[in-house]
Amino acid sequence: MKKAEKIGIIAALCGIILLFLIASTDFVLEENRKEVYTIAFVTDGSADDRFQSLRKGMEKAAKKWNVDLVVDAPYLSGNAAEQEAAIEEAVENGAQAVITVPADQVQMEKFLDQSKLQVPVITLEKELHSEKKFGAYIYDSEKSAKKLARAVLEEKKDASVALYASDVSAKETANCLDILEKELEDGGCTVIRRQYRQGFEIEGEVVVAADPYTFSQIVNLQKIPDRLYGIGCSNKMLTLLEEGKVCAAVICNEYDKGYLSVEAAMKSIQNGTRQRTVKMEQVLVRQENLYDKEYEALLFPIS
């Protein structure tokens, strides 16, 4: 047998053995191996029920994408520094992406720009202007403001309205406040802006919470304003809405927001894809249409 033929046979034999090893063992190719991804969801510290539907959506996406969803929150509600520490800790513990509801938009932007974090960050409710931002799911501040203003004016045109917000430096919040103020004043109302602070009393004939954090904090107070409007959704808010203690709320599909945010985080981890900012569809819900069929799926997601 010629030398070339011998070499060919030996090479073929080696190739066959290798292929059999690959096909029969997991040394080279692990077919059914599913990689587990870790994604951290760091809230702004507001009440858990605010994120109930959101987390249902997140968990649904986590199951689909084989994600280990780690939920964390600052000890003090709305504390930006603690939130940043929680994010850092989550990344140190292996989180491959972070979804967060920034307590303070400007501070969060600074933090991300200055930090050494190398993971994609998806934000909810606020849009960051940072290199590290890989996507955002927010309310349409203009539409929300107009819907709320209309709801207030439909009930009383010349009311004295207090606009509450916590993170007034946030672009969406600032925009919402501006439009609300303008619409209400154009409608004949007197408008006063107030910074929401924990522990401080809420005052005003009509109170409008211009961001979801503020809204969720106010609905959990012992003494709730008589006429309360707001942006955002929680079980407590729905109960109050049903009881008539909340007059109207602008709500988006929290379940979808949670699902899509995890999906976006996954795509960022896998491909480095950056999602554009998504403005969620929102509806104005009152007591009378709370159980309308068209809103049932949005307000009460099946999980």
Binding site: I9, I16, L19, A23, L29, E31, L238, E242, D256, L260
Partner: protein, 594 residues
């Protein structure tokens, strides 16, 4: 185009070794066979696997159906118990107690039990609860169904329980079973609606953990195509995911093929009793296939193993067949280059060994023929040299000139002239301008001139006679074949004669052959010597011209073949007869040896 390809193919094929052609053909055929067989088996196994998977899925869905039906029947039995054992009980069991008892017993699966009047007033509930302000149950679908279709129990679609005050803030999803009932007299009404809210999670638990393979799932749909349960229900309601539930609700029980969003799927349908619902099992066509990456790699490895083994066997067989051919080819090549001593092996298959044997015989024959040619050419060359030499044989010349001198000295000028004339003619014909073929006439003339001189030399010891047929005179003959024979007859036959020696020279045709015969009445040749002469063992004598009989015989055979030549007959004391045979060829005719 085909012709070009064909030419290129032929050019390539002629350069490829037979061994590799055989190996390649066998290996390719085996590969095709392996691929064909592999594909057939794969398809067959795939089909069988699909069948098994379908069967298992049907069994699984049947099981789920049984569980679901059992659960629904259980709720319906509770409803019957509430109606017949509580509401219509003749034992005056307090309705609230009956309701509470049945609720407590089944609260793991029941959210609420309630009895409403036909006007929508809450009469009894378990657990005890208040209706939410502003709630009008008469507008609810479950109420209207119960009121309009009084003979049946009705299951609603999943919905959020929104009837009772919810102090905990839980918004549970439920399925409502409603029926028209006869309300006891205590409530001063006649008809009412009995409601049982089945916890949606109870239904969900039946379906949640059912798996139809990696990408398979089952869902529940009502007769109108509305989803009752789906693993992706919320996403479908929100429009993020899609499902073909509306079409599936119209399928009959059994297995159906469908294409949805570009994916081929097998859909198994099973109707649920009492409700008009359908369980839909969805399995992707890919799920029952063997074509995972590892399976494909395994298949490739298997085919490669098979091909390697076959390749080795093919190589061995083709080598076994072609090596003897290669040896033969090498041997033939060496023979063509002139090496007739090369060894030719007779091995391999029958045809090859037979071929080797034939080539070896051919080689031997070629060698012999070449040797014959060399020998014949050697003889011819020698004969030509001898003939050339004889043309200027000095002994004959000296002797003849001696005779002439003696004649001149003895004042016999006429004889001298005759002798010299004969000598001149002898040499003229003998040379014949270098021709090897002359006419019979010239050959006879040559002999006559020779005999004229020899008679003078031998002092008339013998007489010679010519008997030449007229018709042979213009035929062709080899030059200088008759004279050597006559020379022998004179030299050996007439030497001791005393005037009565006779030499007859005849030339005639017999059976289309030219016959020269020289007969003498000399002492003859002894038999032993005659045999030696016939065997060619006697070296020709240098008497006379020096050519000799052997030379003549060889020349005739060289020129005309073995059927011609020289024959010697001799009897001691009787004489000798030598016959030369040549073919009859007219002088200058085609076929003549020049």
């Amino acid at each position: 185009m085909n012709r070009k390809f064909y030419q290129k193919w032929n050019a390539f094929y002629s350069k490829v070794s037979l061994r590799y052609v055989i190996w390649g053909a066998f290996t390719l055929t085996a590969l095709l066979g392996a691929v064909l067989m592999g594909t057939s088996f794969y398809n067959r196994f795939s089909l069988q696997l699909q069948g098994i998977v379908e069967k298992q899925n049907r069994a699984l869905i049947e099981q789920v159906n049984n569980t679901l039906t059992s659960e629904l029947r259980n709720i319906m039995r509770i409803s019957d118990s509430l109606y017949f054992s509580v509401l219509k009980s003749e034992e005056n069991v307090p309705v609230e107690e009956g309701f509470a008892l049945l609720y407590d017993t089944n609260k793991s699966s029941i959210q609420n039990i309630a009895l409403f009047s036909k006007e929508g007033d809450l009469l009894v509930s378990a657990p005890a609860a208040k209706l939410k302000p502003g709630v009008d149950v008469t507008k609810e679908a479950w109420f209207q169904n119960a009121v309009t279709q009084t003979e049946n129990q009705h299951f609603s679609r999943p919905h959020v329980q929104n009837l009772f005050v919810n102090s905990k803030g839980n918004y549970a999803h439920v399925l409502t079973l409603s029926r028209m009932v006869q309300v006891p007299d205590a409530y001063e009404v006649q008809d009412g609606v009995l409601l049982i809210d089945l916890k949606y999670e109870q239904l969900e638990s039946i379906f949640k953990n059912v798996s139809l393979g990696e990408e398979g799932y089952i869902y529940l749909v009502d007769g109108a195509g509305n989803l009752i349960y789906h693993p992706q229900q919320q996403l479908i309601l929100d429009g993020i995911e899609q499902e073909n539930h509306e079409k599936a609700s119209a399928y009959k029980d059994g297995v159906h093929d469908e294409v949805f969003e570009g994916q081929h799927r097998k859909v198994t349908i099973k109707s649920v009793g009492y409700t008009g619902w359908k369980i839909v099992g969805v399995v992707s066509d890919k799920a029952a296939q063997l074509s995972t990456v590892k399976n494909i790699i395994f298949l490739i490895a298997l085919v490669m193993s098979f091909m390697l083994i076959l390749s080795i066997i093919n190589s061995y067989i083709s080598k076994k067949v072609t090596i003897p051919i290669e040896h033969l080819e090498g041997a033939v090549k060496r023979i063509a280059e002139g090496d007739l001593e090369t060894t030719i092996e007779e091995r391999g298959a029958y045809e090859i060994s037979h071929l080797g044997r034939s080539i070896r015989k051919m080689k031997v024959r070629i060698k012999k023929l070449m040797e014959d040619i060399v020998r014949e050419q050697e003889i011819q060359r020698k004969n030509e040299l001898d003939t050339l030499q004889s043309q200027i044989n000095p002994h004959f010349l000296y002797n003849t000139l001696d005779i002439v001198v003696w004649m001149v000295e003895n004042e016999k000028p006429q004889d001298a002239v005759r002798a010299l004339t004969a000598l001149a003619r002898f040499f003229r014909i003998g040379l014949s301008k270098g021709k090897t073929i002359i006419t019979v006439r010239d050959e006879i003339e040559h002999v006559k001139n020779y005999l004229t001189i020899q008679k003078m030399r031998y002092k008339n010891k013998f007489e010679y006679y010519f008997e030449v047929e007229e018709e042979v005179l213009e035929l062709s003959t080899l030059k200088l074949i008759l004279q050597p024979i006559v020379e022998n007859a004179v030299a050996y036959g007439m030497e001791f004669q005393d005037g009565d020696g006779e030499v007859f020279i005849k030339a005639y045709l017999k059976e289309e052959k030219l016959i020269f015969q020289v007969v003498d009445n000399g002492p003859g040749i002894m038999p032993e010597r005659l045999e030696e002469i016939r065997a060619g063992k006697v070296v020709s004598s240098k008497k006379g011209s020096g050519i000799g009989m052997r030379n003549v015989g060889e020349r005739i055979q060289l020129a005309y073949g073995k059927e011609y030549g020289i024959q010697i007959e001799s009897e001691p004391d009787e004489g000798t007869c030598i016959t030369l045979t040549q073919p009859k060829i007219a002088y200058g005719q085609e076929g003549e040896l020049l």
